[in-house]
Point group: C2
Chain length 439, copies 2
């Protein structure tokens, strides 16, 4: 009854996906039905971070995509070929496909989706854009009732890391790039990232989903960040902007200049990647480092933004596995059974931790008599109950009373409350006007 996966590739993403699927506790119960049936690798001898039965590993990737037992082919090998050919052959053999391959989808999406529609199979690609951030599925399902005006993304972590460091350190592009390469945040050949090509692949995919039409990659204007200087970052700062590499897909409707064109039969949009001055109050202005964010604007929803890790084994494995889960739910579907992802899946109650057992930091403000040794007495009371303090500061006076602000380390709330009860018995303490938890 299990759904059999044929996984192509056991690099970073493949390994992350196998690790997730080999450790199913406390994840969605439907994952129990997923079986790692074949994993295609380049070499059987390479040391691996995951253990798989010998019978599962193979170097014959073509055999996986034509194997009648395989239900879903998971393409996480990357690169254009043989990935494209293997995906097409999997589709021709009636397999559903999950892929993380933005380069293949943005270039060959046309033939791949045409083949998939003919064969009656799904091609899922949540991992192709935004790493672990759920953005493909929300665009397809939750947001598609809207008329989308604009999709604006910071969807290349390397360039955002470089621009963030140029901004915070006042450094030059070439210096930060060299350091990013040393630290592994940029490739030895950084072209795909810094010239905006990776972001162009991704915005082509997002635009296609948001506007319901295919996109030719060559139509996507792409300008990278090599020419962004620290001088401009400094001027932008003074003008109230930060400089970000944005990928933008925009309906032509708001573009006044072309309003006099005849109503298009297919969506008329602009699609582009370029460094952009972003007003500091804009939601994308505060997306820093290797993070990604995608802002979707539409009618009637207004603005929604998705933020998270744009890359990494774990994040990408989450996206790949969520596509697998969606396919399992779709494949299980019969006329009588509900789709388990849409239905309520839990009949049992959670156990709720009493607040006294909560572990958190606290902020407390005390008003005390202005006499020596008060801070010491507070410290002693806290110590008596195992409450460790991060800071104790006498901040000033309120009339006759001294005001003391305390921030604790992580404590058990019950211990903290007991300490407060003891503190309230101190004659030196007048009152505790504020008590707040600290994230």
């Amino acid at each position: 009854m299990g759904v059999k996966l044929g996984i192509l590739g056991l690099g970073t993403v493949g390994t992350g996906t196998v690790q997730l699927l080999q450790d199913k506790g406390f994840r969605h119960p439907l994952l129990q039905e997923v079986e790692i049936y074949r994993v295609g690798v380049r070499s059987l001898d390479k040391p691996r971070a995951v253990t798989l039965p010998e019978s599962v590993l193979t170097t014959d990737l073509e055999a996986i995509v034509i194997d009648p037992a395989v239900d879903i082919v998971v393409e996480v090998m990357g690169g254009l070929e043989p990935a494209r050919s293997l995906i097409l052959k999997a589709i021709q053999n009636g397999k559903h496909v999950v892929t993380a391959n933005k380069a293949v989808i943005s270039r060959f999406g046309d033939e791949i989706f045409t083949a998939a529609n003919q064969a009656g199979v799904y091609v899922m690609l949540e991992a192709a854009v935004g790493g672990g951030i759920p953005v493909i599925q929300p665009l397809k399902q939750s947001l598609s009732v809207n008329r989308i005006h604009t999709v604006t993304g910071i969807i290349n972590g390397t360039t955002n890391y470089i621009l963030t460091r140029m901004q915070t350190e006042g450094s030059n592009f070439s210096d930060v790039l060299a350091d990013a390469q040393r630290l592994g945040y940029a490739e030895a050949d950084p072209t795909a990232d810094v010239d905006g090509l990776d972001a162009a692949d991704k915005i082509a995919i997002l635009a296609s989903l948001a506007f319901g039409g295919r996109i030719k990659l060559k139509d996507v204007y792409s300008e990278g960040i090599r020419q962004v200087s620290k001088t401009d970052i400094a001027y932008a700062e003074k003008l109230g902007f930060v400089i970000k590499l944005l990928a933008i897909a925009q309906s032509a409707a708001p573009l006044a200049a072309i309003a006099n064109r005849t109503t298009p039969s297919s969506p008329l949009i602009s699609v582009r990647v370029h460094p952009t001055l972003v007003p500091k109050a804009h939601p994308l202005a505060s997306i820093n480092g290797v993070n990604n964010a995608i802002l979707v604007e539409g009618e009637p929803i207004g603005q929604v933004m998705f933020f998270g890790p744009g890359a990494g084994a774990g994040a990408t494995a989450s996206a790949v596995s969520s596509d697998i889960l969606n396919l399992v739910a779709a494949l299980k579907k019969s006329k009588t059974a509900l789709n388990q992802l849409l239905a309520c899946a839990h009949q049992d109650y959670c156990q709720i931790v009493p607040m006294a057992e909560l572990v958190t930091r606290f902020y407390a403000r005390f008003l005390t008599k202005d006499q020596p040794g008060v801070i010491g007495k507070l410290g002693t009371c806290f110590g008596n109950h195992g409450v460790s303090l991060e800071s104790v500061v006498q901040t000033g006076f309120q009339g006759e009373l001294a005001e003391i602000v305390v921030v604790t380390h992580d404590v058990q709330e019950g211990d903290f409350r007991q300490a407060l009860t003891e503190i309230q018995t101190l004659t030196a303490v007048d009152s505790i006007p504020s008590l707040l938890r600290v994230l």
Copy 2:
């Protein structure tokens, strides 16, 4: 062949939903199959922002939920009763249900989902939490392959609006509340919002989805913002924090204090709403005003955040309609047809606007000879091509050359490029080292 809706309530959310469904162009094509079949209202005589045939409107809400022709009941009337009873009766009559009613779901989710599972129908609730932000569906589908550690939300717009104003203006709670009531951001009876009860309803729902177990609302600890003083906001600021009303659901796994409990058979979590000091660098710290945001942390994904409008007719109508769309896709499903939300839905190409026709703002930096009238000459060239300027500033010198920074209003890129070509012919202009677009 259409899917027939019975809508209960034609207030703000109901009206927004009807408006969306009456205007289907450039939205998901599957919406074409949705028919507004009945709309239940309190009075037939009230003036409405939408026009509906007389035969559609009725004051007999019970007749809607038992009407054999109705496929989906959309409950957007709010309140506990008769909403609860009507939802249950709709389920008993085999209707799928879409609801925006957080109060009913958080209190009566138990009996509602039990009844729905018995009847084999769906109860969808995207609009119950976070307004238009897609968060219910990502939690159910995209993120459920993760082990969720924590869900942390700013999920009450009123309190976030009040705290944001207290922060930026240094005002007292009571003054801002009075003003928020005057402006319509807070209710005349603000209890549900400012005492954290609305947020408690919502975090109970999110916790249930994130941790796969039901939640008794009485187990949710709730503390509001009445006791947050401007004094504490100011101290928090100095310590590097902002104060937010957070709703938090957290797996007990990271809570060291209870690690020695026996492994629970059902999820062991803490669920709570309280004002919280949030470090300024935290993603939730910059969520201001009436916006909502939900941060989900899990393994292996790390942190993802969803941000957007937490309320409002349009945003909520988007969420309600996306649930309707999902049900239509689920109901259409047969053994041979693909789920149209998961499959590729577009075979046509988008039309891409040439960059020359793009309308955007520009930033440009010029190096010019230090002679009088240069700014005037630049201005003339821009004016010749219809480029309107927002600011022109001589920022200083680079050696012998004067440096001038220009920011334009929205212009057509082709016009701007033509102006630059003319500017490059000026003898006073040495070079244009930077050219960037402005969001």
